[in-house]
Symmetry: C2
Subunit: 204 residues, 2 copies
Amino acid sequence: MSDVSERAYHHGRLRSALLDAAMRTVREGGVDQLSLRELAREVGVSHAAPRRHFPDRQALLDALAVAGFERLDNRLRTATADGAEDFTSRLKATVAAYIRFATEDAALLELMFTGKHRPGADQVMAAAVPSFTLMYEQIAQGQAAGELAPGDVEQLGIVLFATMQGIATLINGDMVKPELLDDLVDRAVEQFVRGARPAPPEMP
Amino acid sequence: MSDVSERAYHHGRLRSALLDAAMRTVREGGVDQLSLRELAREVGVSHAAPRRHFPDRQALLDALAVAGFERLDNRLRTATADGAEDFTSRLKATVAAYIRFATEDAALLELMFTGKHRPGADQVMAAAVPSFTLMYEQIAQGQAAGELAPGDVEQLGIVLFATMQGIATLINGDMVKPELLDDLVDRAVEQFVRGARPAPPEMP
DNA sequence: CTACTCTGTTGTCAATGCCAACATCGCTTA
DNA sequence: TAAGCGATGTTGGCATTGACAACAGAGTAG
């Protein structure tokens, strides 16, 4: 308790302060921009202080990635919860939320998925699980509602997730004109649903 | 003319030698591993020599990305050409080739798509065009063959490309078990084709 | 032969990540 | 309460790196 901060020869909140500052830097300037020493300066500690909380730079990046996945998961879940009851609409809401996150926090997303997690980044992988699970759940619901054909939920979910991630990468990498984005998302979802829906179309 | 190298106070092939060595390093150790000075040492020139060919580190990375896209495009085209005549099979061959490239050269792929291209990386973007075009062509052929419904070729192609790229990212990021890969690719393609095929199924 | 331009070399600088030795705070325990 | 101790910061230092400036060799054109 005490947002007085500023003082405290032991700072008290160094770890989270570092994470906050790092998050800001990464969002603004990208991962390469991030320097432990500069970070220490911003927070007002000595250049070796961060070492007590993050053994090396990579550890900080991993922690950032984990935090990123938590934020992403929150975004996805609220978007999903707020979405319409209609299956496809809700799915679109989820995907749209993902893409929004991805474009707003491009550098963070890159950090999250990029192979920068050296072995031992189990935490990073684990942090991604909830969001994957959310996709699986949505797929399962779609199947239960008869909108999707029954089948391996995981595989389907991964394909959908991959498509989202891929679109984000393409947009962030300037390989696709941003104007196309909205249509692209709609189309991708529709196309996904159409490709996975039950076989027999109709029979009036 | 003269693979003698070793001598030549002016080396003669410095630029391509640097690119080769850099490509090797990136493939083996990742982008972060790449150091201009180390590179110069490997090639046997002074630490400032690379500067004559690449103004800064980023320029080297961009050049590497361009070279990467060229390699990717070659792989895709030979795979496509060698593929069966059947539309779906050929598409699968293309996608499989993409994924193979992506998993074998994970670090390179990352370099290619990652937003590391600061403004002015028109070359990088341009280098990606041929591969996108290949996808568009395939889509168009599928439509001509009646396997896909007519519609915007670009949007469809981008969705497919994104799906490939996304799967690659997920695999390279260890977010998906490698055992799933083959099934995943097959499923993704089939699902794509099913989702984009002409509406009226049959009418006996 | 001279001047000019590539291409490569030497020397230097500031910044960075990591490490070791030292300092300080707060909590535990006798 | 006081000694002790571990967690948290600090100072100083080292090797590496990317970038830059000044210089040198080598080929070329006049």
